[in-house]
C-alpha cells in the first residue's frame, strides 16, 4: 500500500542518534524493576504473595477511579481534575450514611450489614453521578468550544471547590471509619493474613467492571458513547444526542467514583479531605499507564500501580518505603509519558508524543 511506502524513512539516519537510546533506557528501568521483584520474591516468598494480593485489591479500587478518568478523557479529551474529589465526596457520603446514619459497625448483624451497605452503595452512586454530571453541565459544557486549556482550568477550580466542601464536612484530620466488614483472615500466607474485608472489596469491584465493559461494548448507549468519542459531529449527524451522551458518560464515571468511594472507605477505614487529590492523581497515572481512553488498560494500569505501591511499602529488600510512594508514582507517570505516551494497551496516536 502507498501508506506503507510513505512510512519508510526517506533518508536513513547514520551514526549515533540520542533518540535511539531512549527505548533502551526504558527497557533497562523495567529490567531493574523485575530484578528487584525477583530478589524480593526469593528472599521472602510468603510476604511477597500476600503483599501482591493486597496490591491487587488496592489496584481494583484504583481501577474504579481510573475508569472515570478514562471514560471522560475518551469522550471529551479532558482531564477531569474534579473526578478525584467526587470520589472523595463519595467516601464522605458513604461514611455519613453507613456509619453515622445507619450506625453500622463491627457489631452489626450480617443481614443489617448487607442491607445497609447496599443502600449506602446506591446513595453514594446516585450522589456522585449527579454531582459529576452537574459539574459537567456547569463548568465544562459552556467551554466546549473554548481553547482546550479553558475546561482544564475550570476543572482545577471545581476540584478546589469540592475539596473545600470535603474539608468543611470532614475536617482537616483523617476520619476513621468503623470496621464494617469482617476482618478475620480468609487464609494466611507466610504469617500474614489476607482479611475478609479485602476479599469482599476485591470481589465486589469485579462485577462493576464487567458491567461497565458490557455497557460500553454491547448496549445502544455504549455505542453512542463510542461514536461520540470518535467524532462528535458525525455522531450528531447520525442522530445521537451528543450532549445527553456526554452527560451519561459523566453519570457513569460519577457512579464508578461513588462505588470506589464506598469501597475505599471500607478498605482503608480512613478517609481524608485531600484523598481525592492524591488518589485521583494515582488513578490518573494508572489510566495513563494503561493507555488513556482504553478501559481494560485503565484497570490493568491500576492493578500495576496498586502492586507497585504495596511492594514499595511492604517489601523488605531495598524498598524505598511509604515516604516515597507519591514520588515513585509520579516518576512512573513522567517516564510513561516520556517513553510510551500511548500507554501499555493504547494504540499509538500522534497526540501523546
Amino acid at each position: 500500500m502507498a501508506t506503507d511506502a510513505r512510512s519508510e524513512p526517506i533518508t536513513r539516519r547514520r551514526g549515533f542518534q540520542p533518540a535511539d537510546v531512549v527505548p533502551w533506557i526504558g527497557l533497562l528501568l523495567v529490567a531493574l524493576l523485575v530484578f528487584w521483584l525477583i530478589v524480593n520474591f526469593v528472599k521472602t516468598p510468603g510476604d511477597f504473595v500476600s503483599i501482591a494480593l493486597e496490591g491487587i485489591t488496592l489496584g481494583l479500587v484504583y481501577g474504579l477511579i481510573a475508569l472515570g478518568y478514562s471514560l471522560v478523557y475518551g469522550i471529551l479529551e479532558l482531564i477531569n481534575f474534579a473526578h478525584g474529589d467526587v470520589f472523595m465526596l463519595g467516601s464522605w457520603i458513604s461514611f455519613a450514611v453507613a456509619a453515622q446514619w445507619l450506625n453500622l459497625g463491627p457489631d452489626s448483624a450480617g443481614a443489617t450489614v448487607i442491607g445497609g451497605l447496599a443502600l449506602t452503595l446506591l446513595i453514594a452512586m446516585a450522589f456522585c453521578a449527579l454531582l459529576n454530571a452537574s459539574i459537567e453541565r456547569v463548568a465544562y459544557r459552556p467551554l466546549r468550544n473554548a481553547p482546550r486549556l479553558a475546561p482544564l482550568i475550570t476543572a482545577i477550580g471545581m476540584s478546589f471547590i469540592l475539596q473545600d466542601v470535603g474539608l468543611n464536612r470532614l475536617g482537616p484530620a483523617p476520619v476513621s471509619v468503623p470496621n464494617i466488614l469482617p476482618t478475620g483472615a480468609v487464609f494466611t500466607i507466610g504469617g500474614i493474613a489476607y482479611p475478609w474485608s479485602s476479599l469482599i472489596v476485591a470481589v465486589s469491584a469485579i462485577p462493576v467492571l464487567i458491567l461497565l465493559v458490557w455497557l460500553v461494548q454491547r448496549t445502544r448507549q455504549g455505542r453512542a458513547m463510542r461514536a461520540t468519542a470518535q467524532d462528535q459531529e458525525a455522531a450528531a449527524m447520525m442522530g445521537i444526542n451528543v450532549n445527553r451522551t456526554i452527560s451519561f458518560t459523566f453519570l457513569l464515571a460519577g457512579s464508578l467514583a461513588g462505588v470506589a468511594g464506598l469501597l475505599y472507605a471500607l478498605y482503608s477505614t480512613n478517609i481524608q479531605f485531600d484523598q481525592g487529590f492524591t488518589l485521583g492523581l494515582i488513578a490518573f497515572t494508572a489510566a495513563v499507564l494503561g493507555g488513556i481512553g482504553n478501559l481494560p488498560g485503565a484497570v490493568l494500569g491500576a492493578i500495576i500501580i496498586g502492586l507497585i505501591q504495596q511492594f514499595n511499602e511492604g517489601l523488605s529488600w531495598h524498598a524505598p518505603g511509604s515516604d516515597w510512594t507519591q514520588s515513585i508514582v509520579f516518576a512512573i507517570l513522567i517516564l510513561i509519558l516520556v517513553f510510551r505516551p500511548e500507554g501499555l494497551l493504547g494504540e499509538r496516536t500522534p497526540e501523546g508524543g
Binding site: L143, A146, G157, F160, F330, A331
Partner: protein, 462 residues
C-alpha cells in the same frame, strides 16, 4: 435545530441571568468607537463610585490613574513621547512612599485594613511568581501546574548557602550580620538570589526537556507531578543515603537576611530604616526588575516567538520558530523568576519548610494569573496583589464584615480554597480573559483560536 429560542420574558429567571454576560459582550461587539467610549466612561465612573464607598484614598488613586489614561493624548506635543512613562511613575512614587502613609489611611469597607508592610512583602513576592508563571502560561500558552517546584528550589538554594545547614563547611562571603565564627555557608543573599534564579532555571530546563514535547494537558499533569516530587524530596531529604540535604520536615531555619553595607535587613537601622521597610523596598526593587524584564522579553524576538506558539503552534513551526527551544526558554525564564521570588521569600521568613510547597500554592498562583488576565503583566500583578492580600489579611476581615452584616457565624478563611476555586471557575466562564486582559489574548479566547498541536491529524482535518 428543532428547538427554537424562547423569547426572553418566557425564559426562566436563571437562564436570563446566565445569558447576560454573553449578551453584554455581543452588544459591546456591535458598538462603534464613540459608543464604546461612552460605555467606558460610565463603567469607570461606576468603578470610582464603588471604590469611594470602599475607601476614598483607593478611589483617589484609581481616579488619578484613569485621568492620566484619558489625559495622555492631550499632553503638549513636546511631552508626548514621555506620556507612556506617566502611569508607571505615578504608581512607583505612590508605592515607594507607602510605608510613610499607610497607617493613616484608615480602613476599607468590606476589605478591612490596608495591607501592612509584611503583607505587602508577601504580595510582592507573589506578584513576582505570578509574573514568572505568566511567561509560561500567558505568553507561551503552556499550562504549568507545578510552579511551586521552582519556588521550592529557590527557597532551598538560599537556605543551603545562607544558613548553618552545612555546619561542617565554613564559607563566608559578603553576608551581613553573621558572626565571623558562625559555622555553615553564608553567602550574600543578593548573590544567592541570582544563583537561585539560575539554578531554578536549570531545573526548569531539566524538567522541560523531556516533557515539553507533550501536548497541553499532558504537560500540565507532568508538571504537576514534578511539583509534587520536589517537595517530597525536600520532606525526605534529611537522609539521602546518610546525607542531610534538606533537614526533612523540620525545615531549614534560620536563614540569613539580606543586607546593604552594614545594615542587616532583619535588625534594620534606626527608626527610619526599619526591617519591614527595608524588606518592602527590597521586594519592590525585585518586582520592578521582574516587570521590566517581562515586558522587554514579551517584545523581544523570543517573546514574539512565544506568542506565536501560543496562538498557533503549527503556523509558528512553519514560520521557522524552533518549538522545543522556544518552549524550553519559556520554562527557564519562568522558573528563573519563581526561583528568585522563592529565595527572597525564604530570606524574609528566615525559614523554609517542605510543608510550604503544596499543590495549593501552584493553583493559587495560577488563579492569580487567570484572574488578572493571562498574558498581561499589569493584570497579573494586580491579580497577584489582590489575591495575596485576601489570603494574608483580607479574607479574615471580609469574614468579620460578613458575620457582622448578616449575623452569621462563619469562619471565612476556612473556605478560602473554595473561594479561589470559585474565582477560577467564574473567571473562566464569565470573563476568560481576566480582569485586565491583554487585547490579543481576549481576541483569542473569544474567537476560539484552537491550540491544536502540531501533527494532530484529528485537529487538522476538522
Amino acid at each position: 435545530m428543532a428547538e427554537s429560542r424562547l423569547p426572553e420574558y418566557s425564559q426562566p429567571w436563571y437562564k436570563r441571568w446566565a445569558g447576560m454576560p454573553g449578551e453584554w459582550r455581543s452588544r459591546w461587539r456591535g458598538m462603534d468607537r464613540k459608543q464604546r467610549f461612552k460605555v467606558d466612561i460610565v463603567l469607570r465612573a461606576a468603578l470610582i463610585v464603588f471604590l469611594l464607598w470602599v475607601s476614598w484614598p483607593l478611589a483617589l488613586f484609581v481616579a488619578g490613574l484613569i485621568v492620566i489614561q484619558y489625559g495622555e493624548p492631550y499632553l503638549p506635543a513636546r511631552l508626548q513621547p514621555y506620556g507612556r512613562f506617566l502611569t508607571p511613575t505615578v504608581v512607583v512614587i505612590v508605592v515607594l512612599l507607602y510605608p510613610f502613609y499607610y497607617a493613616s489611611l484608615g480602613s476599607m469597607n468590606i476589605l478591612g485594613d490596608y495591607p501592612v508592610l509584611g503583607t505587602m512583602v508577601v504580595m510582592g513576592v507573589y506578584a513576582m511568581m505570578a509574573v514568572g508563571l505568566n511567561i509560561v502560561v500567558g505568553y507561551a500558552g503552556l499550562l504549568d501546574l507545578g510552579y511551586v517546584a521552582f519556588y521550592a528550589m529557590g527557597a532551598y538554594t538560599v537556605a543551603w548557602f545562607a544558613s548553618v545547614q552545612f555546619a561542617n563547611h565554613k564559607l563566608h562571603f559578603g553576608a551581613v550580620g553573621v558572626g565571623a565564627n558562625t559555622p555553615g555557608i553564608h553567602i550574600s543573599v543578593w548573590l544567592l538570589l541570582l544563583l537561585a534564579g539560575l539554578l531554578t532555571g536549570v531545573v526548569g530546563i531539566l524538567i522541560g526537556l523531556p516533557t515539553l514535547r507533550l501536548r497541553g494537558d499532558y504537560l500540565a499533569i507532568v508538571t504537576l507531578g514534578f511539583g509534587e516530587i520536589l517537595p517530597q524530596i525536600a520532606r525526605n531529604g534529611d537522609d539521602l543515603g546518610g546525607f542531610n540535604l534538606t533537614n526533612g520536615p523540620n525545615g531549614i531555619t534560620p536563614i540569613d537576611p539580606p543586607g546593604i553595607g552594614h545594615v542587616n535587613f532583619l535588625t534594620g537601622s534606626g527608626s527610619f530604616w526599619t526591617s519591614e521597610r527595608l524588606f518592602f523596598w527590597g521586594v519592590l526593587l525585585l518586582v520592578a526588575i521582574t516587570i521590566f524584564s517581562s515586558l522587554r522579553l514579551r517584545d523581544s524576538r523570543l517573546g514574539r516567538a512565544w506568542i506565536a506558539i501560543r496562538e498557533d503552534e503549527t503556523a509558528a513551526a512553519a514560520m521557522g520558530v524552533p518549538l522545543m527551544r522556544t518552549k524550553t526558554w519559556a520554562y527557564a525564564t519562568g522558573a528563573f523568576f519563581g526561583g528568585v521570588a522563592g529565595a527572597y521569600f525564604a530570606s524574609f521568613k528566615q525559614s523554609t519548610f517542605p510543608g510550604d510547597f503544596s499543590f495549593n500554592i501552584s493553583a493559587f498562583i495560577l488563579s492569580m494569573v487567570i484572574l488578572g488576565g493571562m498574558g498581561n503583566v499589569w493584570g497579573v500583578v494586580f491579580g497577584a496583589a489582590f489575591l495575596a492580600f485576601l489570603n494574608q489579611q483580607g479574607l479574615a476581615d471580609i469574614g468579620h464584615w460578613f458575620n457582622d452584616t448578616f449575623g452569621t457565624n462563619l469562619d471565612v478563611p476556612k473556605y478560602q480554597f473554595g473561594i479561589y476555586g470559585l474565582i477560577i471557575v467564574l473567571t473562566m466562564l464569565i470573563r476568560p480573559e481576566g480582569l485586565i486582559p491583554s487585547a490579543r489574548r481576549r481576541a483569542e479566547l473569544h474567537e476560539g483560536v484552537h491550540d491544536t498541536p502540531l501533527y494532530d491529524m484529528r485537529g487538522a482535518v476538522e
